[in-house]
């Protein structure tokens, strides 16, 4: 019971759900990169992800639960942490002892959450409507065109790129921090932290590259 209610349990939940979402990012960026280098493979992979029952009815719900748990727990922690200092300092020099990203995870997280709403609207809602509301037949060739066309508007491309910058900041602190939360701090920590920081830059950069690439290279009919 104590594992559910304690402050340390909340750390474990944040860390494990965050790590799960990191593994999802690896899959997501890999498939998305195919849209730049191999439209055929991208169509094939997207079709598989869109119609495989294990992906659709097992992995997709787990992913959604992972996202919800991560941000709900993030809000719970933020509220509790604010309560823990009921009278604010007149002067508080947070920059003297902790990096900006680590002190503002709630704000980078909120931007990512807002982005997820747009992203869900852009792709997931469209996909659900296509498959289950309009009951269209399977078309394994549509994904590449749909994706590239999404990035035709300049505003959407900019919103995506800004969100990826915030994702990078969020991962910069969150990825390495998750291992500390799970109690892993040993001789490998320095190396792992470097890897986590590189990951925090490279993966969002790849996402941003994909969005910008499709914006600059529209499909000409």
């Amino acid at each position: 019971m104590s594992l559910i209610k304690s402050s340390l349990a909340r750390k474990y939940v944040m860390a494990l759900s965050g790590l799960f979402l990191v593994t999802f990012l690896i899959l997501h960026v890999t498939i998305n990169l195919a849209s730049v280098f191999s439209p055929d493979f991208f169509n094939e992979a997207s079709h598989f992800m869109g119609y495989n029952p294990i992906v659709q009815f097992l992995m997709q719900p787990i992913l959604i639960i992972g996202v919800v748990v991560h941000f709900v727990m993030g809000f719970v922690l933020e509220i509790q942490n604010k309560k823990a200092r009921d009278v604010s300092y007149v002067k508080y020099k947070g920059s003297a002892n902790a990096p900006w990203v680590s002190r503002n995870m709630i704000y980078s997280g909120l931007v990512i959450l807002a982005f997820l709403a747009l992203h869900f609207y852009d792709f997931w809602v469209h996909e659900m409507a296509y498959k289950y509301v309009e009951a269209n037949p399977e078309d394994p060739t549509r994904y590449y065109h749909e994706t590239v066309e999404k990035f035709a508007p300049f505003w959407r491309t900019i919103l995506y790129v800004v969100s990826f910058v915030l994702l990078s900041l969020h991962l910069w602190h969150g990825f390495a921090s998750s291992f500390q939360s799970m109690g892993v701090n040993n001789k490998y920590t320095v190396g792992f932290t470097k890897f986590a920081k590189i990951f925090a830059v490279v993966v969002p950069l790849a996402f941003a590259f994909i969005a910008v690439y499709h914006h600059l290279n529209p499909i000409t009919h």
């Binding site: 922690l77 309560k83 508080y92 892993v184």
Partner: protein, 248 residues
């Protein structure tokens, strides 16, 4: 040097406090921060005003009694020192210095700059002890061989003086650096193994009951700790707690 002080004045726990401005002249760089406050208090007393109340005891940086949030940092801008060991040479003529009590719901203000840190005592009482036979046939601790690395790590954790700077620095007012140091100093030694499972669970439970915030690994506590207590202690506590809870 001449300093402009902005000091939190609060009559008692139930009366709202406020920042009061003071100007203090003739401060020397060799004075400690607390000696500077002593001079201010002498001036206030000579004028018939009530002196500024602040915590202090050994003034040697080892007792953990002094506190103060100085210009937004616990124990001021210097590193690895307590307020009593902070020298005024760290400030310049004409500086404005904001002096406040450590802020946390679990550290209520008693008066002016003095806060009640007995929450730390209760965390310690919840599990920061070992069972040793003291009936006259006590076994010498050195009869149990302990490797140097573990002994050093345990000693490093045990240097925590419980001043509360970790809580004051943390944006979440979390007490995990303190609690983890107190868990670690026993967890690393064979003498601490008897109560290991209950210790970490009881201390964390008490820490939560006191109303401290959650750790978000910003590392502010480690930077501001006057004794350099490491974040590795928090990771150790997280490990100990996870295994203790899973063991039941």
């Amino acid at each position: 040097m001449k300093l402009y002080l902005k000091i939190w004045r609060q009559k008692d726990a139930s009366t709202p406090g406020k920042i009061v401005d003071y100007t203090l002249d003739g401060v020397e760089g060799d004075m400690s921060f607390l000696e500077m406050l002593d001079i201010l208090n002498e001036e206030l007393v000579s004028k018939g005003e009530e002196p500024v109340e602040f915590d202090h005891d050994c003034r040697e940086g080892i007792c953990g009694t002094c506190s103060l949030q100085i210009n937004g940092e616990p124990h001021g801008p210097d590193r690895l020192v307590t307020t009593c060991q902070l020298h005024m040479r760290k400030f310049s003529d004409g500086d404005t210095i904001v002096i406040e009590p450590f802020r946390a719901k679990a550290f209520p203000v008693i008066k002016d700059l003095i806060v009640d840190r007995s929450a730390f005592d209760r965390i310690q009482q919840a599990g920061g002890y070992i069972s040793v036979n003291t009936s006259g046939n006590t076994i010498d601790a050195n009869t149990i061989p302990i490797n140097k690395y573990d002994a050093d790590e345990a000693m490093d954790a045990a240097t925590c003086i419980g001043c509360g700077a970790c809580v004051a620095a943390c944006k979440n007012a979390s007490a995990m650096l303190f609690t983890s140091a107190k868990v670690s100093q026993f967890a690393l030694l064979p003498q601490g193994q008897v109560e290991a499972t209950e210790r970490v669970q009881n201390m964390v439970r008490q820490m939560d009951l006191e109303g401290f915030g959650n750790c978000t690994n910003t590392g502010a506590c480690e930077v501001e700790c006057p004794k350099g207590i490491s974040l590795t202690n928090i990771a150790r506590m997280n490990r100990e707690y996870l295994s203790a809870t899973l063991e039941g």
